[in-house]
């Protein structure tokens, strides 16, 4: 996974709450390997049924087309566990989503794929959007090293990310490799657990 240190990019406001993973990427884009998930991102909001762009949708507006950051409403990424929601955002170019809260599975999936989810209180999210919308260029700098967002005109907002997540994102270290470093402990656990609850392990039935 790609490491995340400092991201400087266009931020698009999409302040709906409960944007679920099925809206982020619809099922029809998940069938085949060949599909460009980035093109499928928010497809039902970006395009009409015959594939024409809907010009008012935020990511279609010239000002936000190159967005790297999304500022969204509460409970972003709720619903289905499909990890392709994160992949679609990444393929489109989004590496950071700022929202008051996230669907839990989405949050984990995001961290594990190098997409930084930032939780900020609702009023701060609202103020950030106000700044982005009125700025000449809707650009934010997200610095994961010192956990600060710099908004247009220099205002700074601090944020928090669980330390382990932050370390892994900064290092671009994937969790599976981390766990595999502790394989001996897993095996020792399995031996202990099998002694305590033998019906759960080994040959079943």
């Amino acid at each position: 996974m790609e490491s995340f240190t400092i991201l400087d990019g266009i931020a698009a406001p999409l302040l709906k709450s409960n944007i679920d993973t099925g809206v982020i990427i619809a099922l029809r884009f998940l069938r085949s390997r060949a599909t460009d998930l980035g093109a499928g991102l928010f497809a039902d909001w970006r395009y009409t049924a015959d594939g024409a762009e809907i010009p008012e949708f935020v990511l279609n507006r010239p000002r936000y087309r190159e967005s790297r950051i999304l500022i969204a409403g509460a409970n972003f990424g709720c619903g289905s566990s499909r990890e392709a929601a994160v992949w679609a955002l990444l393929r489109f170019g989004i590496r950071c989503v700022i929202a008051p809260s996230f669907g839990e599975i989405f949050y984990d999936n995001a961290c594990e794929n190098g997409l930084l989810p930032i939780m900020l209180p609702e009023d701060l999210v609202g103020r950030l959007v106000a700044r982005v919308e009125t700025a000449g260029e809707p650009r934010l700098t997200v610095d994961l090293e010192c956990c600060k967002i710099t908004a247009p005109a220099g205002a700074q907002i601090a944020f928090e990310v669980p330390e382990e997540r932050r370390a892994a994102l900064l290092a671009g270290l994937d969790e599976t490799s981390l766990i595999l470093q502790h394989e001996g402990e897993i095996d020792a656990y399995r031996a202990r657990a099998a002694a305590a609850r033998p019906w759960l392990y080994g040959k079943l039935g």
């Binding site: 709906k16 709450s17 409960n18 099925g22 809206v23 619809a26 099922l27 029809r28 998940l30 069938r31 085949s32 039902d44 049924a49 409403g73 509460a74 409970n75 709720c78 619903g79 289905s80 566990s81 499909r82 990890e83 392709a84 994160v86 809260s101 669907g103 839990e104 599975i105 984990d108 999936n109 594990e112 794929n113 609702e122 669980p162 330390e163 382990e164 370390a167 994937d174 969790e175 599976t176 981390l178 766990i179 595999l180 502790h182 394989e183 402990e185 897993i186 656990y189 399995r190 657990a193 305590a196 609850r197 033998p198 019906w199 759960l200 392990y201 080994g202 040959k203 079943l204 039935g205």
Partner: protein, 473 residues
């Protein structure tokens, strides 16, 4: 004496391998269920790492999401799905993982067959690449849904790094009125407390009304945990749960069974255990529930008017207005009498034998009116067989329902079953999101009884007013 613990904390404690920094722990997963919809890239990732599955005997493959449910279906019956089904069959074969394939007598929706096969056991940890995995919590397992990267991780290590959730107990007191099912209980709860109340929590459902529920109803409750943000939901195992498991294929037998049961008896939350959050629900207040919007919290009793957006908290106003527009409804309307085009009985929420029995009890001797498409999709092949033995298939088909093979079907659209644009569906599923049952499809969630009643009435109907011999719940 050790500290009093909740059910969840006991299972947690038994499964911690090590602590990483902060509140993140390495947790052993006892059962890993793999389905064709989310696992493909995980198998590829595993191969790229040059690894084989760590615990083949604890890993089971299931095909359910993409599979056609048309009678006589084959793996390739639905053209757009066959690439993934084929890949799943090949991946399981190559990895040496037992696959419950499409013609297997045990086939079905993963969350229905895990308990049926006895793979779900009280006090165990279960993970599956599907957000409704908490269904297995109905037997007192800690079960949760994961993404594709985590599936790969599970294949490689049989463990996951998990943040320790807070604990929440939802206590259902009072008695259910006749005709009120587990589905009404959980929809009502979500309506009262919203879709995020469970975020960050492992939820235990408790109280006399939960203990009074048959095990299948407990699955329905736990199934919808994710719909209010909780990744897992559990119910303490009791006699009913233990009885349910006795003799299941993968459940322990003989002396091992006795050992297991003795352990399970110790799992319920200690009397003085503390929860981070407690909520109480009075079942006596619950009437038949139906959703009106595009989020499970958009739910009302059948005789209540749809709320007006200006009457609710500001952050719910905009989604409400959008929901109403999508659903083609107005504030103040009651849902009773609203014509429907589709009625769907199925999904991991409500497709078990008891659900079909309740629905059949309402349907028997009646007819689905012209213009309404009504479909029953049993949650598993064993459910289908049992229903057929009881003659329920005849009850449904004589009334004009389609009787299908088991699978996820019209819960989403992967297997080719979908509600056409603008059409209105009443459904026993768990998600009424935009486009869930088809592009622009309008979904109302309800109990099997309510869906059956709507199917034969042609419109959303108050089951309490139907002349039903016996709702049988």
């Amino acid at each position: 004496m050790s500290e009093p613990k909740t059910l969840f904390e006991k299972i947690w404690h038994n499964h911690v391998i090590r602590q990483f920094g902060g509140d993140r722990f390495l947790i052993h997963v006892d059962r890993h269920l793999v389905n064709e919809a989310t696992s493909r890239f995980a198998f590829e990732g595993l191969k790229q790492r040059g690894l084989a599955p760590k615990c083949r005997e604890a890993t089971f493959g299931v095909i359910d999401h993409d599979l056609s449910t048309r009678p006589g279906r084959q793996w390739d019956s639905y053209e757009p799905a066959k690439e993934r089904i084929g890949a799943m069959q090949e991946n399981c074969r190559a990895a040496g993982i037992e696959l419950i394939d499409i013609h297997d007598a045990r086939q079905g929706i993963v969350h229905v067959i895990a308990p049926e096969m006895g793979l779900t056991l009280p006090g165990s940890t279960i993970a599956c690449g599907d957000s409704h995995t908490a269904t297995s919590g109905g037997l007192g397992a800690w079960a949760w849904g994961v993404g594709t990267t985590e599936i790969e991780r599970l294949l490689a290590t049989q463990s996951l790094i998990v943040r320790k959730p807070k604990t929440m107990r939802v206590t259902f007191i009072g008695e259910r009125h006749p005709g009120i099912s587990a589905k009404d209980l959980i929809l009502y709860f979500i309506g009262q407390h919203g879709v995020t109340v469970g975020s960050g929590h492992a939820v235990e459902y408790a109280g006399p009304a939960i203990r009074a529920l048959p095990v299948e109803g407990r699955f329905t409750i736990c199934n919808m945990s994710i719909e209010f943000g909780a990744r897992s939901g559990l119910i303490a195992p009791d006699d009913a749960a233990i009885e349910y498991l006795a003799g299941r294929a993968y459940a322990p037998k003989g002396a091992m069974w006795d050992l297991a049961v003795a352990d399970w008896r110790g799992l319920p939350s200690d009397e003085d255990a503390r929860f981070d959050r407690e909520i109480e629900i009075d079942c006596a207040a619950i009437k038949p529930q139906v959703t009106w919007g595009t989020s499970p919290q958009d739910v009302i009793a059948i005789d209540e008017p749809i709320p007006a957006p200006d009457g609710v908290a500001s952050e719910r106003r905009e989604p409400m207005a959008r929901s109403l527009d999508y659903m083609g409804l107005q504030p103040g309307m009651v849902l009773e009498g609203l014509p429907i085009d589709f009625a769907f009985i199925g999904s991991c929420t409500n497709s078990r034998l008891s659900d079909l029995e309740i629905a059949a009890g309402i349907v028997r001797g009646r007819k689905v009116p012209e213009g309404v498409t009504a479909i029953v999709v049993p949650g598993s092949t064993p459910v289908k067989r049992a229903a057929e033995e009881a003659g329920l298939d005849k009850v449904f088909t004589e009334a004009g329902f389609e009787w299908r093979e088991s699978g996820c079907s019209m819960c989403q659209t992967l297997g080719g079953d979908m509600v056409p644009p603008g059409k209105r569906s009443i459904s026993t599923t768990n998600r009424n999101f935009e486009n869930r049952q088809g592009a622009k499809a309008r979904t109302h969630l309800a109990s099997p009884a309510m869906v059956a009643a709507a199917a034969i009435s042609g419109c959303i109907t108050d089951i309490r007013k139907l002349d039903i011999r016996k709702p049988g719940i």
